[in-house]
Protein backbone atom coordinates (compact mmCIF):
# COMPACT_ATOMS: atom_id res chain seq x y z
CA UNK A 1 0.00 0.00 0.00
CA UNK A 2 1.49 3.33 -0.99
CA UNK A 3 1.53 6.05 1.57
CA UNK A 4 -1.37 8.41 1.09
CA UNK A 5 -1.33 11.93 2.39
CA UNK A 6 -4.08 11.09 4.84
CA UNK A 7 -1.96 8.38 6.30
CA UNK A 8 0.91 10.76 6.77
CA UNK A 9 -1.44 13.16 8.46
CA UNK A 10 -2.65 10.78 11.14
CA UNK A 11 0.69 9.08 11.40
CA UNK A 12 2.31 12.05 12.99
CA UNK A 13 1.86 11.49 16.72
CA UNK A 14 0.46 14.95 17.26
CA UNK A 15 -2.19 14.71 14.56
CA UNK A 16 -3.16 11.21 15.69
CA UNK A 17 -3.68 12.45 19.20
CA UNK A 18 -5.65 15.38 17.94
CA UNK A 19 -7.98 13.22 15.89
CA UNK A 20 -8.42 10.90 18.82
CA UNK A 21 -9.39 13.72 21.19
CA UNK A 22 -11.73 15.14 18.62
CA UNK A 23 -13.38 11.75 18.16
CA UNK A 24 -13.60 11.30 21.92
CA UNK A 25 -15.37 14.64 22.25
CA UNK A 26 -17.70 13.86 19.37
CA UNK A 27 -18.68 10.58 20.96
CA UNK A 28 -19.67 12.37 24.14
CA UNK A 29 -22.24 14.50 22.34
CA UNK A 30 -24.97 11.82 22.48
CA UNK A 31 -24.54 11.92 26.24
CA UNK A 32 -24.61 15.71 26.43
CA UNK A 33 -27.79 16.10 24.39
CA UNK A 34 -30.25 14.43 26.81
CA UNK A 35 -28.58 16.27 29.69
CA UNK A 36 -29.24 19.50 27.83
CA UNK A 37 -32.82 18.42 27.21
CA UNK A 38 -33.20 17.66 30.89
CA UNK A 39 -32.23 21.19 31.85
CA UNK A 40 -34.35 22.79 29.15
CA UNK A 41 -37.37 20.62 29.89
CA UNK A 42 -37.27 19.15 26.42
CA UNK A 43 -37.34 15.44 27.20
CA UNK A 44 -41.03 15.24 26.27
CA UNK A 45 -44.07 13.85 28.03
CA UNK A 46 -42.34 10.57 28.87
CA UNK A 47 -38.73 11.49 29.68
CA UNK A 48 -37.79 8.00 30.83
CA UNK A 49 -38.84 6.49 27.53
CA UNK A 50 -36.97 9.22 25.68
CA UNK A 51 -33.76 8.52 27.59
CA UNK A 52 -34.09 4.76 27.32
CA UNK A 53 -34.58 4.89 23.58
CA UNK A 54 -31.93 7.49 23.00
CA UNK A 55 -29.24 5.56 24.85
CA UNK A 56 -30.32 2.31 23.17
CA UNK A 57 -30.14 3.94 19.76
CA UNK A 58 -26.66 5.32 20.41
CA UNK A 59 -25.38 2.07 21.86
CA UNK A 60 -26.35 0.38 18.60
CA UNK A 61 -25.06 3.20 16.39
CA UNK A 62 -21.63 3.29 18.00
CA UNK A 63 -21.52 -0.50 17.87
CA UNK A 64 -22.13 -0.34 14.13
CA UNK A 65 -19.46 2.36 13.80
CA UNK A 66 -17.04 0.02 15.53
CA UNK A 67 -17.95 -2.71 13.10
CA UNK A 68 -17.36 -0.32 10.21
CA UNK A 69 -13.69 0.21 11.09
CA UNK A 70 -12.28 -2.93 9.46
CA UNK A 71 -14.24 -2.67 6.20
CA UNK A 72 -13.33 1.02 5.92
CA UNK A 73 -9.73 0.23 6.53
CA UNK A 74 -9.70 -2.39 3.80
CA UNK A 75 -11.60 -0.25 1.36
CA UNK A 76 -9.52 2.89 1.86
CA UNK A 77 -6.23 1.30 2.71
CA UNK A 78 -6.08 3.77 5.55
CA UNK A 79 -4.68 1.51 8.22
CA UNK A 80 -4.67 4.12 10.90
CA UNK A 81 -8.40 3.73 11.34
CA UNK A 82 -7.59 0.79 13.52
CA UNK A 83 -6.21 2.93 16.31
CA UNK A 84 -9.70 4.29 17.00
CA UNK A 85 -11.45 0.95 17.07
CA UNK A 86 -10.86 0.23 20.73
CA UNK A 87 -12.18 3.64 21.73
CA UNK A 88 -15.27 3.18 19.56
CA UNK A 89 -15.92 -0.25 21.03
CA UNK A 90 -15.59 1.05 24.56
CA UNK A 91 -17.92 3.94 23.78
CA UNK A 92 -20.46 1.45 22.46
CA UNK A 93 -20.14 -0.40 25.75
CA UNK A 94 -20.45 2.88 27.63
CA UNK A 95 -23.77 3.69 25.92
CA UNK A 96 -24.97 0.15 26.54
CA UNK A 97 -24.23 0.72 30.24
CA UNK A 98 -26.14 4.02 30.15
CA UNK A 99 -29.03 2.27 28.42
CA UNK A 100 -29.15 -0.53 30.95
CA UNK A 101 -28.75 1.87 33.88
CA UNK A 102 -31.63 3.88 32.52
CA UNK A 103 -33.70 0.70 32.37
CA UNK A 104 -32.75 -0.47 35.87
CA UNK A 105 -32.83 2.90 37.63
CA UNK A 106 -35.27 5.12 35.75
CA UNK A 107 -37.65 2.61 34.23
CA UNK A 108 -37.79 -0.11 36.90
CA UNK A 109 -36.27 1.71 39.86
CA UNK A 110 -34.38 -1.35 41.13
CA UNK A 111 -37.44 -3.59 41.12
CA UNK A 112 -35.34 -6.70 40.57
CA UNK A 113 -38.37 -8.97 40.65
CA UNK A 114 -39.87 -7.14 37.70
CA UNK A 115 -36.48 -7.01 35.96
CA UNK A 116 -36.02 -10.76 36.39
CA UNK A 117 -39.52 -11.36 34.99
CA UNK A 118 -38.71 -9.16 32.01
CA UNK A 119 -35.46 -10.96 31.30
CA UNK A 120 -37.03 -14.42 31.31
CA UNK A 121 -40.46 -13.61 29.87
CA UNK A 122 -39.92 -10.90 27.30
CA UNK A 123 -38.01 -12.14 24.26
CA UNK A 124 -36.84 -8.63 23.38
CA UNK A 125 -35.39 -8.09 26.84
CA UNK A 126 -33.88 -11.59 26.82
CA UNK A 127 -32.13 -10.63 23.59
CA UNK A 128 -30.91 -7.32 25.03
CA UNK A 129 -29.66 -9.04 28.16
CA UNK A 130 -27.89 -11.76 26.18
CA UNK A 131 -26.08 -9.20 24.08
CA UNK A 132 -25.05 -7.35 27.22
CA UNK A 133 -23.61 -10.55 28.73
CA UNK A 134 -21.63 -11.18 25.57
CA UNK A 135 -20.30 -7.63 25.55
CA UNK A 136 -18.76 -7.92 29.02
CA UNK A 137 -15.85 -10.23 28.10
CA UNK A 138 -15.12 -8.03 25.13
CA UNK A 139 -14.91 -4.91 27.27
CA UNK A 140 -12.80 -6.70 29.88
CA UNK A 141 -10.30 -7.93 27.30
CA UNK A 142 -9.98 -4.64 25.50
CA UNK A 143 -6.73 -3.58 27.17
CA UNK A 144 -3.38 -3.77 25.36
CA UNK A 145 -2.17 -6.29 27.92
CA UNK A 146 -5.09 -8.58 27.25
CA UNK A 147 -4.63 -8.33 23.50
CA UNK A 148 -1.02 -9.36 23.93
CA UNK A 149 -1.77 -12.08 26.39
CA UNK A 150 -4.59 -13.72 24.43
CA UNK A 151 -2.98 -13.26 21.01
CA UNK A 152 -4.98 -15.07 18.33
CA UNK A 153 -7.55 -16.20 20.89
CA UNK A 154 -8.34 -12.51 21.32
CA UNK A 155 -9.29 -12.30 17.66
CA UNK A 156 -11.55 -15.32 17.97
CA UNK A 157 -13.16 -14.03 21.16
CA UNK A 158 -13.85 -10.64 19.63
CA UNK A 159 -15.66 -12.21 16.71
CA UNK A 160 -18.49 -12.43 19.25
CA UNK A 161 -19.28 -8.89 18.20
CA UNK A 162 -20.84 -10.21 14.96
CA UNK A 163 -23.31 -12.24 16.95
CA UNK A 164 -23.90 -9.40 19.39
CA UNK A 165 -24.75 -7.10 16.49
CA UNK A 166 -27.35 -9.55 15.23
CA UNK A 167 -28.87 -10.14 18.67
CA UNK A 168 -29.12 -6.39 19.32
CA UNK A 169 -30.96 -5.84 16.04
CA UNK A 170 -33.30 -8.65 17.09
CA UNK A 171 -33.74 -6.90 20.46
CA UNK A 172 -34.87 -3.75 18.62
CA UNK A 173 -37.00 -5.67 16.11
CA UNK A 174 -38.90 -7.60 18.74
CA UNK A 175 -39.49 -4.46 20.76
CA UNK A 176 -41.41 -2.44 18.17
CA UNK A 177 -45.16 -2.71 18.08
CA UNK A 178 -45.67 -2.43 14.38
CA UNK A 179 -43.24 -0.12 12.61
CA UNK A 180 -40.15 -2.15 11.73
CA UNK A 181 -38.62 0.49 9.49
CA UNK A 182 -35.98 1.61 11.97
CA UNK A 183 -34.73 -1.83 13.04
CA UNK A 184 -34.82 -2.80 9.36
CA UNK A 185 -32.42 0.04 8.52
CA UNK A 186 -30.02 -1.10 11.24
CA UNK A 187 -30.39 -4.70 10.08
CA UNK A 188 -29.49 -3.54 6.57
CA UNK A 189 -26.37 -1.70 7.73
CA UNK A 190 -25.31 -4.68 9.81
CA UNK A 191 -25.87 -7.00 6.86
CA UNK A 192 -23.59 -4.85 4.70
CA UNK A 193 -20.88 -4.71 7.37
CA UNK A 194 -20.94 -8.44 8.03
CA UNK A 195 -21.55 -9.31 4.39
CA UNK A 196 -18.43 -7.44 3.42
CA UNK A 197 -16.40 -9.57 5.82
CA UNK A 198 -17.88 -12.75 4.44
CA UNK A 199 -17.20 -11.61 0.90
CA UNK A 200 -13.61 -10.76 1.80
CA UNK A 201 -13.15 -14.06 3.59
CA UNK A 202 -14.45 -16.09 0.65
CA UNK A 203 -12.38 -14.11 -1.83
CA UNK A 204 -9.25 -14.82 0.17
CA UNK A 205 -10.01 -18.53 0.34
CA UNK A 206 -10.46 -18.87 -3.39
Amino acid sequence: MSTSSAEVFVSTPFAGKFVKSALFTLLLIPLAIPIYWFYTNALGANPIETINRWTGDWALRVLLLTLAVSPLRRLTGWNNFIQYRRMLGLFAFFYVCMHISSYIILDQFFDFGAIFDDVIKRPFITAGFTSFLMLIPLAVTSTKKMVERLQHRWIILHRLIYIIGMVVVLHFWWMVKIDTREPAIYAGILAVLLGYRLFYYIKRKI
Binding site: G44, A45, N46, I48, E49, L106, Q108, F109, D111, A114, D117, D118, K121, R122, P123, F124, W174, M175, K177, I178, D179
Partner: protein, 318 residues
Protein backbone atom coordinates in the same frame (compact mmCIF):
# COMPACT_ATOMS: atom_id res chain seq x y z
CA UNK B 1 -76.18 -1.14 38.48
CA UNK B 2 -74.05 -0.04 41.36
CA UNK B 3 -72.22 3.11 40.60
CA UNK B 4 -69.38 4.34 42.66
CA UNK B 5 -70.16 7.43 44.64
CA UNK B 6 -67.76 9.92 43.26
CA UNK B 7 -65.88 12.49 45.19
CA UNK B 8 -65.65 14.77 42.22
CA UNK B 9 -67.14 17.60 44.21
CA UNK B 10 -63.86 17.79 46.08
CA UNK B 11 -62.03 18.60 42.91
CA UNK B 12 -61.56 22.28 42.49
CA UNK B 13 -61.77 23.61 39.00
CA UNK B 14 -58.33 25.16 39.38
CA UNK B 15 -56.86 21.78 40.18
CA UNK B 16 -58.18 20.41 36.98
CA UNK B 17 -57.42 23.10 34.51
CA UNK B 18 -54.76 25.64 33.99
CA UNK B 19 -56.41 29.00 34.17
CA UNK B 20 -55.01 30.09 30.85
CA UNK B 21 -56.80 27.21 29.21
CA UNK B 22 -60.13 28.26 30.54
CA UNK B 23 -59.52 31.85 29.56
CA UNK B 24 -58.93 30.67 26.04
CA UNK B 25 -62.26 28.97 25.64
CA UNK B 26 -63.41 28.85 22.15
CA UNK B 27 -66.73 28.05 20.73
CA UNK B 28 -67.03 24.68 19.20
CA UNK B 29 -68.02 24.56 15.58
CA UNK B 30 -68.16 28.05 14.35
CA UNK B 31 -69.86 26.74 11.25
CA UNK B 32 -72.92 28.84 10.79
CA UNK B 33 -76.04 27.65 12.45
CA UNK B 34 -78.19 28.28 9.42
CA UNK B 35 -76.13 25.94 7.33
CA UNK B 36 -76.27 23.18 9.83
CA UNK B 37 -79.99 23.55 10.22
CA UNK B 38 -80.31 22.52 6.61
CA UNK B 39 -78.41 19.39 7.41
CA UNK B 40 -78.30 16.20 5.45
CA UNK B 41 -79.80 14.52 8.45
CA UNK B 42 -83.11 12.84 7.99
CA UNK B 43 -85.63 14.76 10.00
CA UNK B 44 -86.35 12.94 13.19
CA UNK B 45 -89.36 14.03 15.15
CA UNK B 46 -87.98 12.65 18.38
CA UNK B 47 -84.78 14.57 17.86
CA UNK B 48 -84.29 17.28 20.42
CA UNK B 49 -84.05 20.72 18.97
CA UNK B 50 -80.41 21.30 18.21
CA UNK B 51 -80.63 25.08 18.19
CA UNK B 52 -77.42 26.85 17.38
CA UNK B 53 -75.72 23.49 17.06
CA UNK B 54 -72.59 24.63 18.75
CA UNK B 55 -71.21 23.52 22.03
CA UNK B 56 -71.00 26.21 24.58
CA UNK B 57 -67.83 25.40 26.42
CA UNK B 58 -68.88 27.81 29.15
CA UNK B 59 -71.73 25.52 30.08
CA UNK B 60 -70.20 22.17 30.73
CA UNK B 61 -71.83 20.06 33.36
CA UNK B 62 -69.96 18.13 36.01
CA UNK B 63 -70.17 14.38 36.16
CA UNK B 64 -70.36 12.01 39.08
CA UNK B 65 -68.14 9.71 37.12
CA UNK B 66 -65.16 12.00 37.42
CA UNK B 67 -62.30 10.63 39.46
CA UNK B 68 -60.44 12.55 42.06
CA UNK B 69 -56.89 12.27 40.75
CA UNK B 70 -54.45 14.84 39.55
CA UNK B 71 -54.91 15.43 35.84
CA UNK B 72 -52.09 15.04 33.34
CA UNK B 73 -50.93 18.46 32.07
CA UNK B 74 -52.58 19.69 28.88
CA UNK B 75 -49.22 19.81 27.13
CA UNK B 76 -48.58 16.13 27.70
CA UNK B 77 -52.12 15.11 26.78
CA UNK B 78 -51.81 16.89 23.45
CA UNK B 79 -48.21 16.10 22.52
CA UNK B 80 -47.91 12.39 23.34
CA UNK B 81 -50.43 10.59 21.21
CA UNK B 82 -50.93 7.34 19.38
CA UNK B 83 -52.88 8.34 16.30
CA UNK B 84 -51.23 6.47 13.45
CA UNK B 85 -53.24 8.31 10.80
CA UNK B 86 -51.08 11.32 11.69
CA UNK B 87 -47.80 9.44 12.04
CA UNK B 88 -46.26 6.62 14.02
CA UNK B 89 -44.12 8.55 16.46
CA UNK B 90 -46.01 9.81 19.49
CA UNK B 91 -44.92 13.36 18.68
CA UNK B 92 -46.19 13.13 15.08
CA UNK B 93 -49.93 13.65 15.66
CA UNK B 94 -49.33 17.10 17.10
CA UNK B 95 -46.85 18.00 14.37
CA UNK B 96 -49.21 16.79 11.62
CA UNK B 97 -52.46 17.88 13.25
CA UNK B 98 -53.35 20.28 10.46
CA UNK B 99 -53.66 17.40 7.98
CA UNK B 100 -56.87 16.24 9.61
CA UNK B 101 -59.77 18.15 8.06
CA UNK B 102 -62.55 18.32 10.62
CA UNK B 103 -64.93 20.78 9.01
CA UNK B 104 -67.39 19.88 7.74
CA UNK B 105 -67.88 16.56 9.50
CA UNK B 106 -70.61 14.01 9.18
CA UNK B 107 -71.12 10.54 10.56
CA UNK B 108 -72.73 7.69 8.70
CA UNK B 109 -75.01 5.55 10.83
CA UNK B 110 -75.90 2.19 9.33
CA UNK B 111 -76.70 -1.44 9.99
CA UNK B 112 -79.23 -2.88 12.39
CA UNK B 113 -81.15 0.26 13.33
CA UNK B 114 -84.36 2.06 12.41
CA UNK B 115 -82.82 5.43 11.71
CA UNK B 116 -79.80 4.95 9.49
CA UNK B 117 -78.44 7.94 7.63
CA UNK B 118 -75.78 10.53 7.30
CA UNK B 119 -75.77 12.77 10.34
CA UNK B 120 -74.06 16.00 11.12
CA UNK B 121 -71.73 16.21 14.01
CA UNK B 122 -74.14 18.51 15.78
CA UNK B 123 -76.75 15.77 15.83
CA UNK B 124 -74.62 13.86 18.28
CA UNK B 125 -74.40 16.55 20.82
CA UNK B 126 -77.53 17.18 22.75
CA UNK B 127 -77.42 20.61 24.28
CA UNK B 128 -77.33 20.60 28.03
CA UNK B 129 -75.93 17.10 28.17
CA UNK B 130 -72.35 18.02 27.52
CA UNK B 131 -70.30 17.37 30.59
CA UNK B 132 -66.79 17.10 31.82
CA UNK B 133 -65.63 13.67 32.87
CA UNK B 134 -62.23 13.14 34.40
CA UNK B 135 -61.20 9.64 33.45
CA UNK B 136 -58.10 7.52 33.67
CA UNK B 137 -56.65 6.50 30.32
CA UNK B 138 -54.49 3.39 30.24
CA UNK B 139 -52.54 2.73 27.05
CA UNK B 140 -51.74 -0.86 26.08
CA UNK B 141 -48.10 0.29 26.06
CA UNK B 142 -48.18 0.54 29.87
CA UNK B 143 -48.42 4.28 30.33
CA UNK B 144 -51.40 6.20 31.61
CA UNK B 145 -52.90 9.65 31.95
CA UNK B 146 -55.82 11.34 33.69
CA UNK B 147 -57.80 13.44 31.23
CA UNK B 148 -60.72 15.83 31.74
CA UNK B 149 -62.77 14.96 28.69
CA UNK B 150 -65.76 16.96 27.48
CA UNK B 151 -68.50 14.93 25.90
CA UNK B 152 -71.82 13.20 25.99
CA UNK B 153 -72.80 9.76 27.14
CA UNK B 154 -72.73 7.33 24.23
CA UNK B 155 -75.76 5.17 25.12
CA UNK B 156 -78.55 7.76 24.78
CA UNK B 157 -77.09 8.91 21.46
CA UNK B 158 -77.05 5.36 20.10
CA UNK B 159 -80.61 4.81 21.27
CA UNK B 160 -81.78 7.69 19.13
CA UNK B 161 -80.90 5.64 16.05
CA UNK B 162 -83.20 2.92 17.40
CA UNK B 163 -81.02 -0.17 17.18
CA UNK B 164 -83.05 -3.30 16.39
CA UNK B 165 -83.01 -6.52 18.38
CA UNK B 166 -80.36 -7.80 15.98
CA UNK B 167 -77.94 -5.09 17.03
CA UNK B 168 -75.55 -7.09 19.20
CA UNK B 169 -72.45 -5.05 18.48
CA UNK B 170 -71.45 -1.58 17.34
CA UNK B 171 -68.62 -0.92 14.95
CA UNK B 172 -66.91 2.45 14.63
CA UNK B 173 -64.62 3.66 11.88
CA UNK B 174 -62.13 6.49 11.73
CA UNK B 175 -61.94 8.84 8.77
CA UNK B 176 -60.21 7.44 5.68
CA UNK B 177 -58.37 10.22 3.88
CA UNK B 178 -55.03 8.98 2.54
CA UNK B 179 -54.60 12.10 0.41
CA UNK B 180 -54.31 14.22 3.53
CA UNK B 181 -53.48 11.90 6.40
CA UNK B 182 -49.76 11.13 6.18
CA UNK B 183 -50.01 7.91 8.18
CA UNK B 184 -52.56 6.38 5.82
CA UNK B 185 -50.12 6.44 2.93
CA UNK B 186 -48.53 3.27 4.28
CA UNK B 187 -50.37 0.08 5.20
CA UNK B 188 -49.15 -0.16 8.80
CA UNK B 189 -52.70 -0.96 9.86
CA UNK B 190 -55.64 -1.92 7.71
CA UNK B 191 -57.28 1.44 6.98
CA UNK B 192 -59.71 2.77 7.94
CA UNK B 193 -59.10 2.17 11.63
CA UNK B 194 -61.91 0.10 13.07
CA UNK B 195 -63.10 -0.56 16.57
CA UNK B 196 -66.05 -2.33 18.07
CA UNK B 197 -68.01 -2.86 21.25
CA UNK B 198 -70.61 -5.25 22.47
CA UNK B 199 -73.91 -3.37 22.61
CA UNK B 200 -74.11 -3.52 26.41
CA UNK B 201 -70.61 -2.05 26.66
CA UNK B 202 -71.61 0.72 24.31
CA UNK B 203 -74.72 1.43 26.38
CA UNK B 204 -72.80 1.52 29.65
CA UNK B 205 -73.05 4.93 31.33
CA UNK B 206 -69.27 5.27 31.45
CA UNK B 207 -68.98 5.06 27.65
CA UNK B 208 -68.39 8.57 26.41
CA UNK B 209 -68.45 10.32 23.06
CA UNK B 210 -65.96 13.11 23.56
CA UNK B 211 -65.82 16.40 21.69
CA UNK B 212 -63.23 18.17 23.77
CA UNK B 213 -60.81 18.08 26.66
CA UNK B 214 -59.68 20.51 29.30
CA UNK B 215 -62.79 22.58 28.73
CA UNK B 216 -61.91 23.19 25.11
CA UNK B 217 -62.62 21.89 21.66
CA UNK B 218 -60.90 18.57 20.91
CA UNK B 219 -57.41 19.07 19.46
CA UNK B 220 -57.00 17.24 16.16
CA UNK B 221 -54.22 15.05 17.53
CA UNK B 222 -56.61 13.73 20.19
CA UNK B 223 -59.19 12.61 17.65
CA UNK B 224 -61.25 15.64 16.72
CA UNK B 225 -64.06 16.25 16.30
CA UNK B 226 -65.71 13.18 17.76
CA UNK B 227 -64.08 10.25 19.52
CA UNK B 228 -64.93 7.43 21.81
CA UNK B 229 -63.64 7.18 25.38
CA UNK B 230 -63.88 3.77 27.05
CA UNK B 231 -62.03 4.29 30.33
CA UNK B 232 -61.91 0.64 31.41
CA UNK B 233 -60.35 -0.53 28.15
CA UNK B 234 -56.90 -0.03 26.66
CA UNK B 235 -56.61 3.28 24.86
CA UNK B 236 -56.73 1.90 21.32
CA UNK B 237 -60.39 0.92 21.87
CA UNK B 238 -61.23 4.61 22.23
CA UNK B 239 -61.37 5.22 18.51
CA UNK B 240 -60.67 8.73 17.23
CA UNK B 241 -62.22 10.95 14.55
CA UNK B 242 -65.30 8.79 14.01
CA UNK B 243 -67.07 8.91 10.63
CA UNK B 244 -69.07 5.72 10.79
CA UNK B 245 -71.19 3.86 13.31
CA UNK B 246 -72.64 0.51 12.32
CA UNK B 247 -74.90 -1.73 14.37
CA UNK B 248 -74.08 -5.37 13.64
CA UNK B 249 -75.25 -8.79 14.61
CA UNK B 250 -71.78 -10.35 14.43
CA UNK B 251 -68.73 -9.28 16.36
CA UNK B 252 -66.99 -6.77 14.11
CA UNK B 253 -63.33 -6.96 13.11
CA UNK B 254 -61.12 -4.48 14.92
CA UNK B 255 -57.88 -3.01 13.59
CA UNK B 256 -55.36 -4.08 16.21
CA UNK B 257 -56.94 -7.48 16.51
CA UNK B 258 -56.55 -7.96 12.75
CA UNK B 259 -52.90 -6.92 13.01
CA UNK B 260 -51.95 -8.96 16.06
CA UNK B 261 -54.67 -11.35 17.21
CA UNK B 262 -52.40 -12.82 19.89
CA UNK B 263 -51.51 -9.42 21.27
CA UNK B 264 -54.73 -7.42 21.05
CA UNK B 265 -58.08 -8.96 21.83
CA UNK B 266 -61.55 -7.74 20.94
CA UNK B 267 -62.37 -6.84 24.53
CA UNK B 268 -59.02 -5.40 25.58
CA UNK B 269 -60.24 -4.60 29.05
CA UNK B 270 -57.43 -3.29 31.21
CA UNK B 271 -56.21 -6.36 33.07
CA UNK B 272 -52.99 -6.55 35.11
CA UNK B 273 -53.28 -10.35 35.13
CA UNK B 274 -52.99 -10.76 31.39
CA UNK B 275 -49.66 -9.61 30.03
CA UNK B 276 -49.13 -8.41 26.52
CA UNK B 277 -46.97 -11.19 25.00
CA UNK B 278 -44.07 -8.77 24.81
CA UNK B 279 -44.40 -6.74 27.96
CA UNK B 280 -46.00 -6.84 31.38
CA UNK B 281 -49.33 -5.15 32.08
CA UNK B 282 -48.97 -5.35 35.86
CA UNK B 283 -47.78 -1.82 36.25
CA UNK B 284 -47.95 1.41 34.34
CA UNK B 285 -46.16 4.71 34.20
CA UNK B 286 -48.52 7.57 34.85
CA UNK B 287 -47.19 10.33 32.63
CA UNK B 288 -45.47 12.87 34.86
CA UNK B 289 -44.65 10.39 37.61
CA UNK B 290 -41.35 8.66 38.28
CA UNK B 291 -42.33 5.41 39.95
CA UNK B 292 -44.62 3.01 38.18
CA UNK B 293 -48.08 2.37 39.59
CA UNK B 294 -49.92 -0.87 39.95
CA UNK B 295 -52.41 -1.28 37.12
CA UNK B 296 -55.94 -1.81 38.40
CA UNK B 297 -58.42 -4.33 36.99
CA UNK B 298 -60.65 -2.56 34.49
CA UNK B 299 -58.42 0.46 35.03
CA UNK B 300 -60.04 1.10 38.41
CA UNK B 301 -63.60 0.91 37.07
CA UNK B 302 -64.26 -2.68 38.17
CA UNK B 303 -67.15 -1.73 40.46
CA UNK B 304 -68.97 -0.19 37.54
CA UNK B 305 -68.18 -2.59 34.72
CA UNK B 306 -67.01 -5.99 36.00
CA UNK B 307 -70.55 -7.38 36.12
CA UNK B 308 -70.79 -7.14 32.32
CA UNK B 309 -68.11 -9.80 32.07
CA UNK B 310 -69.34 -12.10 34.82
CA UNK B 311 -68.72 -15.73 33.96
CA UNK B 312 -66.33 -14.92 31.13
CA UNK B 313 -62.79 -16.23 31.15
CA UNK B 314 -60.94 -12.94 30.92
CA UNK B 315 -57.66 -14.69 30.17
CA UNK B 316 -59.18 -16.10 27.00
CA UNK B 317 -61.32 -13.08 26.20
CA UNK B 318 -58.47 -10.64 26.72
Amino acid sequence: MLLKVSKSSDVKESQVTDESLYRDRRRFLQASASLTAMSLAPSLSMWPAIGSASIDFNKIGKSDFSIDEETTPYDAVTSYNNFYELGLDKGDPKRNAQHLKVKPWSVKVEGECEKPGEYNLEDFISPGKVEERIYRLRCVEAWSMVIPWVGVELGPILKRFQPTSKAKFVQFKTILDPDNLPGQKRPVLEWPYREGLRIDEAMHPLALLAVGLYGKEMPNQNGAPLRLVMPWKYGFKSIKSIVSIEFTEEQPATSWNITGPREYGFYSNVNPEVDHPRWSQKRERRIGEFLKRETLPFNGYADEVASMYAGMDLKKNF
